[in-house]
Symmetry: C2
Amino acid sequence: MKYTIKILSHDKELQAQKDDVLADKILEAGIDLSLYCNKRGLCGKCFVEIVEGDLPPLDERESFLLNLRKFEKNFRLACLYKIQSDLALQIPEKSLLKETFVLKSGIPTPITLNPAVKKYYLALKKPELRSPSSLLESLESKLQHQGHFLPLNLLKELPAILEQNHFQVTAVIYDDQEIMALEPGNTLNKNFGLAIDIGTTTVVVELLDLTTGKSLAAQTAMNKQIKYGSDVVSRISASTLEPKNLEGLRHSIRNTLNQMIQKLLREAHASSDHVYEAVVAGNTAMNHFFLGLPVKTLSVAPFSPVFTSLLAQSASDLGLEIHQHGKVYIVPNIKSFVGGDISAGMIALNLDSQKGNFLFIDLGTNGEIVLKKGDEFVATSTAAGPAFEGMNLSCGMLALPGAIYKAQKKNKLAITTINHRPALGVCGTGLIDLLAIFLEEGKISPKGTITVKSKRIPIARTIALTQKDVREMQLAIAAIKSGIKLILKEHGLKVNDLDGIFLAGAFGNYLNILNSMKIGLLPGIDRRKVIFIGNSSLAGARAILLSQAARKKIETLVKKIRHFPLAANPLFQEYFIQALEFKNYSV
Amino acid sequence: MKYTIKILSHDKELQAQKDDVLADKILEAGIDLSLYCNKRGLCGKCFVEIVEGDLPPLDERESFLLNLRKFEKNFRLACLYKIQSDLALQIPEKSLLKETFVLKSGIPTPITLNPAVKKYYLALKKPELRSPSSLLESLESKLQHQGHFLPLNLLKELPAILEQNHFQVTAVIYDDQEIMALEPGNTLNKNFGLAIDIGTTTVVVELLDLTTGKSLAAQTAMNKQIKYGSDVVSRISASTLEPKNLEGLRHSIRNTLNQMIQKLLREAHASSDHVYEAVVAGNTAMNHFFLGLPVKTLSVAPFSPVFTSLLAQSASDLGLEIHQHGKVYIVPNIKSFVGGDISAGMIALNLDSQKGNFLFIDLGTNGEIVLKKGDEFVATSTAAGPAFEGMNLSCGMLALPGAIYKAQKKNKLAITTINHRPALGVCGTGLIDLLAIFLEEGKISPKGTITVKSKRIPIARTIALTQKDVREMQLAIAAIKSGIKLILKEHGLKVNDLDGIFLAGAFGNYLNILNSMKIGLLPGIDRRKVIFIGNSSLAGARAILLSQAARKKIETLVKKIRHFPLAANPLFQEYFIQALEFKNYSV
């Protein structure tokens, strides 16, 4: 028996057999129906309105969800509905999959909301004398899945939690396998997660609503580890020379994060008990320090990390102040110093789906370059130092309110600060503009010498660029520039073979591409081919927090990426010295 | 191309295609080849001798294992061997699956050794500059499996452990999914586990070698919880009336177990660091107390437990002094008070594979009866009290050395004690013999009155049976007898419809079946149909420790068992009162 299904809301018509599941037919029609609980009739997100046709009686579960979601009596869950007649139906907007965009600037890469943490509101059956099932059995039978992992102390609280609200409870499930939390009553609207970018210099934490995918608040701060050295290499040395420094490094980043989390929660009026997962993107050294792992193998050739991919860790083991059974997922490392910040960036960019040859450059204290040549991926890292983030410079500062992030030469020097606050210093993107302007004005020579007599170029009030500041920038730029030139040469590519350059960094909100080319940070290429994508490490962490598909993808992708050790290359030193000159290049 | 494979050791001949895997063909021939590592070339347990035919060069892994196992150069791993020619081969005895028998008395039920804990000795590749893989990647690539769970503190120790013995390490893997431990060098011969039976009165712990399946040592002791009451109901009351008693109950059993474990390890000259798993069988209340779970729901109708099945727990969470990342698997409960000791017994007996109608009776402080009627299973429990274990009786004692476990009437009363030590008291099996003898002699009337003037029947030196002792036994026997009669009646069966009765208990080494019938503990049935199987709870724990298949089987089986609540049955009280008389019955 064949039936005709009319989907009025989408103006589609299709054929179905008796007993076909309606949800499957809707998917076949190419409509992105939300199947959050994987067709288990648990979440109530796939209600459709039956306008004409068979309207079977509501079962207990469906009826509970219908009331909860406040739908009319002619709505049914598409995942439980077996077709028995011709149908005409409407799919309401809120039964469609939500997409969200994780990159705030650059290219739009939509991701489908499907976080590892899911909440279900359930009305449990009370056990009966005839079949005195256990409380856990009653819970798992509602969850349509047996054999969850469940922390022992949660099991101890189970009877009291169920009693508190007449066996109605919200279950927080991790990766379909673990019951992380049980909350009396309906707490569906409190489901939060954190996207964290641990940079060597800058740390960014963002609080997201896992149900809507929306960002609720964000914080930027300096990594307190800076007291152990401003770059990765000096922190590694500090920890290998004196073992207690490893503990100090772990404490510093943990404290940095916990203070930021507290501020975010206050700002969003949320409780840490409703933050169930944090996704952490950081370079290899940063994630090792955060986990408290010894980094001796990162300090000597062949610079092996302890781990590449890990299963989610326990937040309380790591001292992260979120839910007591909360999880921390560390974005997988690639190889050696090319870490999780870069793999996160590749996810944010959807780099593996872009057709052609691309460079992806992340300008952090540790600078990384990924070359995509056709289907091949090669990655390298280079120690740029913290200059791009405004550190170690007399006039520099992080990209915080009051930082000059943009400068233009009109009649006189025109500067713009973050949040239009009075200028406090210059962040990375501002420094690039200033270098380009002063180079053009001749105040700085191509060799990097300040030609002004005082050897200080004033910028605003007490803020000025010194000779030492220029030298720091010069070294940082040369590290990136020589890396780009060498990786292209060794893979038989010229600048013009590139279909695009993605530039990332946590160093400001805006990057002037032309100025970057003028000072030689970027190769001279059609300007439209260069896209500044901002903090792609944070964006990737966001994607991986919101989408299990993104998580699976990066775990597979990291294994395909080859490592290209710059420092081991015989040409590197020569390329580096050549790159110290501020000048445009295109070969 | 077809090849002929001659298996000389088993006198079999079969045909194979090019590139068929030799291990698969050997299995097809019905030979139980050991495939401990699931054909990953890791364990070296499937070496066969190639007598004639293609002898491919040894790869690195095979060569390492060949040296380790000290085989000749013409041996190859059957799981890695792809057939390229006609072959003649010998399968050595030690490449065949080991079977073991878990029940020490009664019926032989062989199980195949395949524990959840497996050890592999591995020689890791050191990372190279060209591809600086992480240490964890190197390890997982040898294990032929990515994405193991690994405790954070083990990850922290990984670099040091690998360095200690030139990257040669023994990995302890749990359920193919978790790296529990990493030990420098080769520690394959140290792989131990515990089978634990927590009875209300008696606790038995056995140390087993997980590689050979052999029992190394066993200990019996009294459950120290006895100070909170001698039966399940009084302990539950104690813990619900005064919450700190729950903690006390947990401590008592933990201490009982830890002291027993210490003794076992001393006796076997083993270290707790090499004990990776404990399997615990106990009735519902016992496993709840051991886990520290509140038992309020067990104290009121419908007597629901908190859990039925659980994933393995962390031994250190439970305070069990074995390996710091050791696991504790709790044998699943059935329903209400019918707990893991009974499901363990069903596994030990292989009850679901026996054809026909059977009773399985476990005579503990909590007595349980399982009726298998065709393919149906029904279970019930009845409070027998600790008399069968010799407790609460003036002359009673646990089944420990010095306990009278057997008595016969020849010219005069002849008693036998455990280990032939001087008599200290009487254990359960001895009490049954004595009751039958004194009943026959008329020293006790069918109503249970001692007819001897002194109201004391002397047994040995200072040991005598008192009127109170007889009453305790009378109540215990009536609890079982009324349960048996009621469950048979309600399921339309008569005693003669039974194909067998399995009788279990931790109350002695030997049970006189005829005497059990004389006093009415067992129905009068062809004596050969009654099989005493000893401590089947411990035997089941042993099976589940040694065999993952047994574990999967019981998890499925417990869901199929219906509960038959005795006390809720209107006939129960009448049956109980009738059952107080000592007499043979057969209806």
